[in-house]
């Protein structure tokens, strides 16, 4: 029998396809129309932190250098008030096999796929995660098929994503280069159904467990060098896996009091599914169009429940502008000798502002870098921005307009972060979670779940419930 492969028919089979392709029955963890067993979901694959460390060691993932950015710290102190200007450390995740922390996520998921007997893995990602899945699949002798949103309808490609196509093909993956649109999910489902491969979604439990080692290393290495845990860690955030895994790893190392700060790039006003807006973004990492929607509705994913739940772990969330990220990227190269890609530099740009507020003896960690090269460097991305009609100039970053003007700061004193109102986001999270369970009256246990899932309190959740 030939199955109907129309859009509607494939989407209607979504749950059945996903259940087979991730080897996990999510229904087991549902407790009510609102609540599910989060820790149960994360422990379902059966890997302790020690086992994750062992799996990652097999393929050369993790144990990346922790570097103190002394010159960058001095520059920050030169524009800070007396006694201010925290020491900034950087976890050089570029040293992972495919060049980013995403190897941590892919390593456990691909290991799991191999252990469960899948012959290959399918992954929908235009970013470093795609490269990580392709690289790990090569190491585990599995086939990899990658779906990437690459082109607008003129077939003009985002340079950073074109580079990701190149590197995935270098690792021997079959790469689908697609135009703009959420129907990527449809293509992914069709390919998963045709091949019987494992769906290595970013949002399955193994994708978060793999990042715990990063938070764990940050905490234990800072402690070993400095005799204390870091005061704050800045994490570039979009879908939430980086924040969730890092925060969990910090807590497992005993560093649960460390402030966890999520940073994303302000690209407000640019629609994620717009053919016209697509190439008005200069880079695609830590996009506000992902981070904020994922905070308020974490389960907007390609699996029934998202294992990455950043609102559970965030103490603070901030925006920086594209111009500030480019500036941080170039400072890292010219002051520290580290030529790195944009992903971790979103959190570095935020760190330049946040360190100014902190005391000199405090420690702030930027927990990620990524590889760079053609398509990923400021030279590629600013050239591309200009070709797409974006104005690039020096000035005050406050004059930044997403999709129109990129402003390179005059100096480090101008770098600032815009704080997101987490109280408002938490309220919106509660409203949407309750709204999605229309007609259902939340129980005390549901309220406790919502409080945990939004890092708030039972009283707060009660106040946010519709009356």
């Amino acid at each position: 029998m030939t199955r109907d492969t129309s859009y509607a028919a494939v989407l209607a089979r979504k749950n059945e396809i996903l259940k087979t392709s991730v080897g996990l029955d999510y229904a087991r963890f549902e407790r009510s129309p609102i609540r599910f067993d989060y820790e149960g979901l994360l422990s379902a694959p059966g890997y302790s932190l020690a086992e994750v460390q062992r799996i990652q060691a097999e393929t050369g993932v993790g144990r990346t250098p922790l570097v103190e950015l002394r010159n960058v710290t001095d520059l920050v102190r030169s524009v800070s008030k007396a006694g201010k200007g925290a020491r900034i450390f950087l976890k050089d995740e570029r040293s992972n096999p495919s060049g980013s922390f995403k190897d941590r996520r892919a390593s456990v998921s691909v290991y799991h796929a191999a252990k469960l007997g899948y012959r290959g893995v399918v992954c929908a990602s235009s970013g470093n995660y795609a490269a990580a899945v392709a690289s790990q699949a090569a190491k585990r002798n599995l086939r990899a098929i990658i779906m990437q949103e690459v082109f607008d309808s003129r077939k003009v490609g985002q340079p950073e994503i074109l580079e990701k196509t190149r590197t995935c093909e270098a690792y021997g993956a079959e790469v689908w280069q697609l135009t703009v649109g959420p129907e990527l999910f449809y293509v992914m489902l069709r390919v998963v159904e045709e091949t019987g491969y494992f769906s290595a979604s970013l949002y399955i439990p193994t994708g978060v467990l793999g990042v715990e080692t990063l938070g764990y290393e940050v905490a234990t290495e800072v402690k070993a060098h400095e005799g204390r845990f870091p005061d704050a860690v800045v994490v570039t955030t979009a879908g939430g896996g980086n924040v969730s895994g890092t925060a969990r790893g910090l807590a497992k190392a005993g560093s649960g009091a460390t402030e966890v700060i999520g940073a994303s790039v302000d690209l407000r006003g640019l629609h994620m599914a717009s053919d016209l807006d697509f190439n008005r973004k200069s880079f695609t990492t830590g996009h506000s169009g992902f981070s904020v929607p994922f905070m308020t509705v974490p389960d907007r994913t390609d699996v029934p429940r998202n294992a990455a739940r950043q609102l559970r772990y965030l103490d603070r969330a901030v925006f920086v502008t594209q111009g500030e990220v480019f500036y941080a990227t170039d400072l890292l190269a010219k002051l520290e000798g580290l030529d790195r890609g944009p992903a971790g530099n979103t959190s570095l740009a935020a760190a330049l502002a946040i360190a100014k507020e902190m005391d000199r003896d405090e420690i702030l960690v930027v927990q990620e870098t990524e590889y760079t090269g053609a398509g990923k460097l400021p030279s590629s991305q600013l050239t591309f921005a200009r070709e797409n009609g974006i104005e690039v100039r020096r000035g005050d970053p406050r004059e930044n307009v997403p999709g129109k003007v990129i402003v390179i700061p005059e100096g480090p004193e101008q770098i600032r972060v815009e704080d997101l109102d987490l109280t408002k986001i938490r309220r919106s999270y509660v409203e949407k979670a309750v709204g999605a369970a229309a007609g259902y009256r939340p129980t005390e246990e549901d309220v406790r779940f919502l409080a945990e899932d939004s890092k708030s309190t039972v009283e707060f959740v009660r106040s946010a419930l519709p009356h």
Binding site: Y7, I145, V175, D275, L335, S379, Q381, L382, T383, F384
Partner: protein
């Protein structure tokens, strides 16, 4: 760029995955107005073909796919771009604030 390929050549195929009227509802009008398209590379399985011909390929994952021949061994042409002068000035000025040799 050559517009003819022979069996075993590395080629790129083009597939219209969804026509505009088949696309999902919740997308901006500019996206809904255009087809949802895909390009995939692989080795040509047909004896010979010209650009636009319907062909079969074997992908790097070993799968057989069908589509229209879009290109023969297309280049990776994303580049390093031009040095961004404003940015270079800004970061060198930052470096100069730290002192060091003039």
């Amino acid at each position: 760029m050559t517009d003819e390929a022979r069996r075993g050549d590395l080629v790129q195929i083009h597939v219209v995955v969804l026509r505009p009227e088949e696309r999902t509802a919740n997308i901006p009008d500019c996206t809904k107005a255009v087809p949802y398209e895909a390009w995939v590379k692989g080795f040509l399985l047909d004896e010979s073909a010209r650009i636009g011909d319907p062909v079969r390929i074997k992908t790097f994952a070993g799968r057989e796919l069908r589509g229209d021949l879009a290109a023969v061994n297309p280049a990776y042409d994303h580049s390093f771009g031009k040095p961004p002068v404003e940015l270079i000035r800004a970061s060198l000025e930052g470096r100069d604030r730290l002192g060091g040799a003039a």
